[in-house]
Amino acid sequence: MARPDTDALPASLMGGILRDAALYALVAFGLCVPLVAYRMDPGPGSDLVLVPRWGLVAILCAVTFGLRLLQRLLLLRRDARRALAPSPAQATEAVGAEPDAGQKVSKVGLWVFVAVAASLPILATLATGDLGSARYWIDLGILILTYVMLGWGLNIVVGLAGLLDLGYVAFYAVGAYSYALLSTTFGLSFWVCLPLAGLFAGLWGMLLGFPVLRLRGDYLAIVTLAFGEIIRLVLINWTDVTGGSAGISSIPRATFFGIPFSADEDGFAARFGLDYDSMHRVVFLYYLILVLALITNFVTLRLRRLPIGRAWEALREDEIACRSLGIDTTATKLTAFALGAAFGGIAGSFFAVRQGFISPESFTFLESAIILAIVVLGGMGSQFGVAIAAVAMVAGPEMLRNLGGLKAVFGEGFDPSEYRLLLFGLAMVAMMVWRPRGLISVRMPSVTLGERRAISGAHVSEGHG
């Protein structure tokens, strides 16, 4: 067994590690050739010109070599430590220790999250000096909360009922287009459209859900993906109604329950005796999405303790057993699907009212993947986990934009936000390898005789789809 101090590594062991790292570098080299080594640039005429970039390949291989070496050495140290002092936690890793921590975090965490979210506009104003400069943070907050709401909505379908839905963005689109079309063609107000959008999306959820819900696992995922794409393609091609790829613009803005946010005397500012500030609407939108998200959360938490919620979870655990207990699994799945869709639709109509413009561009498969990643990273079924994951997934890439300083290192052409999705894809893989059950993998029982204690994720099934 190797001794913990790496200085005294036997030469043969070190040689093995070096060889292993070199092998990794070699594979990296193979992967980079010729994709990285030659960049195809448009040359004179219509032909492509190859621009060699062997330096970059060398850097990538060196980085791979270094990282692998580091990883092996770190693992070596850890293994050596474990070998010397076997911890009791090791044997029961799947069941032990972790739940308590997760339990405490998720109990308090949701409240902390709500408190921080509720005070964000104030905090941002205080931190940046005035309301106008806080706009960036409030906008970011709106974006995050939209994904929190979407995540919580999808969590009903994926986390509770265990149905893998890869086309969730379709319902988001249905909600957005319902509001956009109802308001621009019939002049209906946002407050009428909001529930209608939820209703429409829910109906679509039932319509699409009905034929597919008897499919198992991956098939369900693929069919929902197909439906999501069909809806997007129809939105693009049905130009008469949806405006095609150009989308729908000049969608009416949100009003303060009928009072517009305008500078004139009927406007919000004048009515409430405030000085007009365009930020009023932004702050209002912020609190609107916060309330919508919290309603989603409240309803979900409430439903979890009702028979329907328990039936969803039972369905995720074992569908066949559910049927043997007289539970109509199709109807139960359908309610989960429709409810998740309805929340997605409501979020969609919020999206439309905030943007004032929508187009099929906003409803690609990637959006579905991001929302799903939020739910899975959060820990399926955990409301707080989903909220944290949404913050990480949305704010993280946003932070990349601020890394302009890296330009000094990588040259002027370097745009960190270009790497947003690349890193996002890597993060998805990494988190599956590192924590497949998400950040918070414990499950709280919906009802107890005694004290409420969390259930380790090791027991909880992930559903058949």
């Binding site: 594979v27 193979g30 992967l31 050739v33 010729p34 994709l35 990285v36 030659y38 960049r39 195809m40 640039d41 448009p42 219509s46 032909d47 492509l48 190859l50 893998l164 890869l166 034929p211 597919v212 499919l215 696992g217 991956d218 098939y219 995922a221 693929i222 069919v223 993906l225 197909a226 439906f227 794409e229 069909i230 393609l233 129809v234 091609n237 066949i320 498969f365 990637l366 993947a369 799903l372 990643a373 899975v376 270009e418 790497y419 999705l421 690349l422 996002f424 894809g425 890597l426 993060a427 998805m428 893989v429 599956m432 390898v433 497949p436 059950r437 992930e462 559903g463």
Partner: protein, 305 residues
């Protein structure tokens, strides 16, 4: 009738390409029961590798024989794409074996997003077009001014597909690897107990799937002459549809499904509307999964209680 024959030729060409990609889906699904969502993007990567290799050969090394260039590109693309397939399995899927069931699918979605954006970052977002090669062909017959045309490219595509599929069929049916592969499909645990190196077999499955996708990639680039970083998704979904239609897990099914999807797509575009051709593909996917999930040549599944 003439239009029909022409579309038949075009459809079979396209179908050959889908069939080659579909084999990768069907084999991986057969052996580890996962939908390798990133397979379409592996195909896209192979298109880029092929294009670069081709440009290198013709402009830098000045190889003038198209057939020689084609063969070299084919071999290079197959080898390098196979390496990608191997590496992806190793990094993104193998650590998840035995993990919860959705993990590989989500990881695969991550790989898919990574690959398309990786290519976008290193090669730029613009479409890459290839100088036309192997133009010309033979006019099969001509009537009322409409000529049914079979291009050399189409001949080559169908020919290469046929030859490679035969070789591949031999590999799976007659070699020890093929036996191991089929054994793992039936029962992975038992295969391991009988001394089959399951990890290695799975790795090889990915390698083979990627290599066949690379063949499809080379043919695709040559046929259409243009490729972009986002070109993995739609052909990927169509090939997956082909695999499901043919009966997922069945190799002849994948090829058959590919041909059917290719034919449906070209006929749909010719006789209905070209805008909705992708809608047609997705609809077929949904309809097949809902109404005949075991496909044409697949085994029906009995629910185990």
């Amino acid at each position: 009738m003439d239009v029909f024959v022409q579309q038949l030729i075009n459809g079979l060409t396209l179908g050959s390409i889908y069939g080659l990609i579909a084999i990768g889906y069907t084999m991986v699904f057969g052996i580890i029961g996962m939908v390798n969502f990133a397979h379409g993007d592996v195909f896209m990567v192979s298109c880029f590798i092929a294009l670069i290799a081709f440009l290198l050969l013709t402009t830098w090394l000045g190889i003038s024989s198209i057939i020689l260039a084609f063969l070299v590109v084919l071999v290079v693309a197959m080898a390098l794409t196979a390496l990608w397939g191997w590496a992806i399995e190793r990094v993104a899927y193998r650590p998840l074996r035995g993990s919860f069931r959705l993990a590989p699918l989500i990881s695969a979605i991550g790989v898919s997003i990574f690959l398309s954006n990786f290519v976008q970052v290193v090669q730029g977002a613009r479409n890459k077009s290839m100088p036309p090669v192997l133009s010309g062909g033979v006019t099969l017959f001509e009537r009322d001014g409409y000529a049914v045309f079979l291009s050399y490219k189409q001949c080559l595509i169908m020919g290469v597909t046929a030859v490679l599929l035969t070789g591949f069929w031999y590999l799976v049916q007659r070699t020890p690897f093929g036996r191991a592969q089929r054994a793992c499909e039936q029962d992975r645990k038992m295969a391991a107990l009988l001394g089959i190196d399951v990890d290695r077999t799975i790795s090889l499955t990915f390698v083979l799937g990627a290599a066949l996708a690379a063949v499809a990639g080379v043919l695709y680039v040559m046929y259409y002459g243009v490729v972009s970083f986002s070109d993995g998704f739609v052909p990927g979904v169509k090939a997956f549809t082909a695999a499901v239609l043919g009966g997922i897990g069945s190799l002849p099914g994948a090829v058959l499904g590919g041909l059917i999807i290719g034919l449906i797509e070209t006929f749909w575009s010719a006789y209905f509307s070209i805008e909705y051709k992708d809608v047609a593909a997705f609809s077929i996917l949904a309809i097949v999964l809902i109404f005949m999930p075991s496909g044409i040549l697949g085994r029906p599944e009995v629910e185990k209680v």
